[in-house]
């Protein structure tokens, strides 16, 4: 039992920290200590949960999937929290990035700013992210999204200058419309499938006839829901809010938004479309240009087009930016594209008939693993780069390329961190980014998609182009006056270095990471064990199925 309760631990730690920091907010020092300890405790809780999941502990006789039924209401009546390899992977990524970004904020956000509820907001955002990764109920997913978004709204407008209020307004209105859309999709799915529990939904979709479900509306509603997730992940054509919001937010918050919050959208896509909807029984899709009978046959091409468009648009736009933050924000769009085309190859693999569990053997597992490794790489590298940009701003007072130059000689420590993270983004071995790119190419080859290889190549070249440009203009060349007079902030540089070292370390010791990614990919595709672990088999069999 204690094992199962571990599933709520990260959630509780983040929530308690958020509340405690709110209670002691008058004492800045105490608040910082509480917040820092909370961040460390969160990492600890996640580590324990990950270790437990990885070691094969599980609920209802299923290895590696832990389920916690809130208030002991068995699924599908209560809300189930489910931690499997996929959730564990995402949580681990979150814990590392959030702790480093938190350490960065301690020095970066000025004292007055920290007193204005920075820490509680940060931890509430973490609560929302954690909840989204753990929940096994789609309405609950909506609630966690809102928790996460509410805090991120305030964090985006944190400086509340003219630029920030305008960016936040855009971000808020967009997400409010997104939330309404999500409610519509969820309501529709509830009405057609008769359940909100993801495992239960997957089970019902596999056998639509006995539950009285017609699949065509489910496909349509899942497409509506997809828009919301694509919006959260900032995939083309839902990317336009990204640059403004990332530039307005304080650097550590941008690091979190790009590194972690975007991944919530990716996670939701993987969880719902690969675990739940992929399980749907075959149906006749008579849509123009689409031949296939699985739900994923529809989402495969959609994912591919959106991913490819993101890579090209993000990459091209990033090349010609005039400050570091802007460049990083556009690069974020491009990098998420790589993750999404990984998912597209995986969707194609599922259509072709996925067979468990031969690592590397199946395109679906490979595509998902590629997407996950790439997510991890993007989280570490992009967070490091955003923090580096913040550190440059704090030291030099500007991040405009025109006023920068020669940072490499002036601040070697920071430049090393930036350089390593940038190389990881480009994909130079032995950094993690190399394996991420390698797996994407491998998945493309295995999926037999020449177009996919071409797009990924183009994306890789664009990445090199904008990273080189950032390096040349900001870090090499002649020192400008601003750089000469800069006061280096070594405390900030250290956090950038930490993330760079982590990206290097997981690249060098890649075996456990790829194992974890493949296990996570298999967990995402292993619908049956997911259903079984949630305990639906023994709590509700037969019944009227709640159908029509």
């Amino acid at each position: 039992m204690a094992t199962e309760q571990l599933v709520v631990a990260p959630l509780l730690v983040a929530l308690v920290t958020a509340i405690l920091t709110l209670v002691v907010h008058q004492y800045t020092r105490v608040q910082q200590v509480v917040s820092g300890l909370g961040g460390i405790a969160y990492l600890g809780a996640v580590a324990m949960l990950v270790q437990r999941v990885r070691s094969g502990a599980g609920s209802h006789g299923v290895e590696g999937v832990l389920t916690y039924q809130l208030s002991d209401w068995g699924a599908p009546f209560g809300i189930a929290l489910v931690a499997d390899d996929l959730s564990a992977f995402m949580l681990a990524l979150t814990a590392v990035v959030s702790l480093v970004a938190l350490a960065f904020s301690m020095r970066y956000i000025d004292e007055a700013g920290q007193r204005v509820s920075y820490h509680p907001l940060y931890h509430f955002m973490l609560v929302g992210v954690t909840g989204s990764f753990l929940t096994g109920d789609i309405f609950n997913l909506f609630v966690w999204f809102e928790v996460m978004l509410m805090s991120s709204y305030v964090l985006v407008v944190f400086y509340s200058g003219p630029r920030h209020t305008k960016a936040a307004l855009q971000y808020v209105v967009l997400n409010l419309v997104g939330s309404a859309l999500m409610l519509l999709a969820i309501g529709g799915l509830y009405s057609t499938t008769g359940t909100l529990n993801m495992a239960d939904m997957a089970r019902r979709l596999a056998d639509p006839a006995s539950f009285g479900i017609t699949l065509a509306p489910v496909l349509g509603l899942s497409a509506v829901l997809f828009v919301v997730f694509a919006l959260k992940a900032g995939i083309v054509p839902f990317q336009w809010w990204v640059p403004a919001a990332y530039r307005a937010a304080p650097a550590p918050v941008s690091a979190m938004l790009a590194g972690v919050v975007k991944k919530v959208g990716i996670y939701a896509i993987i969880r719902l479309y690969f675990t739940v909807f992929a399980n749907a029984a075959p149906m006749d899709l008579s849509l123009p240009g689409l031949a296939g009978e699985s739900t994923l046959a529809f989402f495969g091409p959609v994912l591919f087009i959106m991913g490819a468009a993101s890579i090209v648009l993000g990459g091209v736009a990033a090349v010609n930016r005039d400050d570091i933050d802007n460049l990083l924000a556009y690069s974020s769009i491009g990098q998420v594209g790589f993750i999404v085309i990984g998912l597209a190859f995986a969707a194609g693999g599922v259509v072709a008939g996925w067979q468990a569990p031969d690592p590397y053997g199946s395109v679906a597992v490979l595509g998902l693993a590629a997407a996950l490794v790439y997510s991890l790489n993007h989280a570490l590298a992009k967070a490091a780069l955003f923090l580096a940009s913040g550190a440059v701003y704090e030291s030099v007072g500007t991040i405009e390329f025109d006023e920068l130059g020669g940072l490499a000689g002036r601040m070697p420590l920071l430049s090393t961190g930036f350089f390593v993270a940038a190389l990881s983004l480009v994909g130079v071995p032995p950094l993690l980014g190399f394996f991420g790119k390698f797996l994407v190419f491998d998945a493309a080859v295995n999926a037999g998609s020449n177009l996919g290889i071409g797009v990924a190549l183009l994306g890789a070249i664009l990445t090199i182009a904008y990273v080189t440009r950032a390096w040349n203009r900001g870090f090499w060349g002649e020192r400008t006056e601003a750089v000469e007079q800069a006061t280096p902030q070594y405390g900030l540089f250290a956090t950038v270095l930490v993330l760079a070292v982590v990206a290097l370390a997981v690249g060098v010791a890649f075996d456990p990471v790829v194992d974890a990614a493949i296990d996570a990919a298999e967990a995402a595709l292993g619908t049956d064990s997911y259903i079984e672990a949630v305990g639906l088999e023994d709590s509700l069999t037969g019944g009227d199925g709640g159908g029509h």
């Binding site: 599908p76 709204y153 305030v154 305008k166 808020v172 009405s191 403004a244």
Partner: protein, 116 residues
């Protein structure tokens, strides 16, 4: 008949909300968003009222007469609370935008955030 009326009301609410979201005045945009989210709530209730399941009574409520689905009401309650919070925030943000820019006209604010 009820279905028809509800469908009509929903359609009108969404139309009104969309119309307001497309206005230049930020306050109207916020109103529009808030109306859209209320419309989504009504839609949620509709999903249970007309043809939904009765999950909680499933196997427990023998002998109970016709019931509407209680779950959607719980969902709507949650959605309303969240909607409240977000609308309040959006209004405060609107005021803040007014303070910073001296206008809440979206055309004067401009679409891009590069200015200022």
């Amino acid at each position: 008949m009820t279905e028809f009326v509800l469908a009509l009301v929903l359609g009108l609410l969404f139309a009104l909300g969309t119309f307001l979201v497309l206005r230049r005045d930020v306050v109207r945009v916020v109103w529009g968003v808030s109306i859209i989210s209320q419309a989504a709530n009504v839609y949620l209730v509709t999903m249970g009222l007309l043809d939904g399941a009765v999950p909680v009574l499933d196997g427990h409520g023998e002998g109970a007469g016709a019931v509407t689905d209680p779950l959607v009401q719980a969902l709507v309650l949650t959605a309303i609370v969240i909607g409240f919070g977000t609308t309040a925030f959006a209004l405060v943000l609107t005021y803040r935008v007014y303070e910073e820019h001296g206008t809440i006209d979206l055309l004067e604010l401009g679409g891009e955030t590069d200015g200022n």
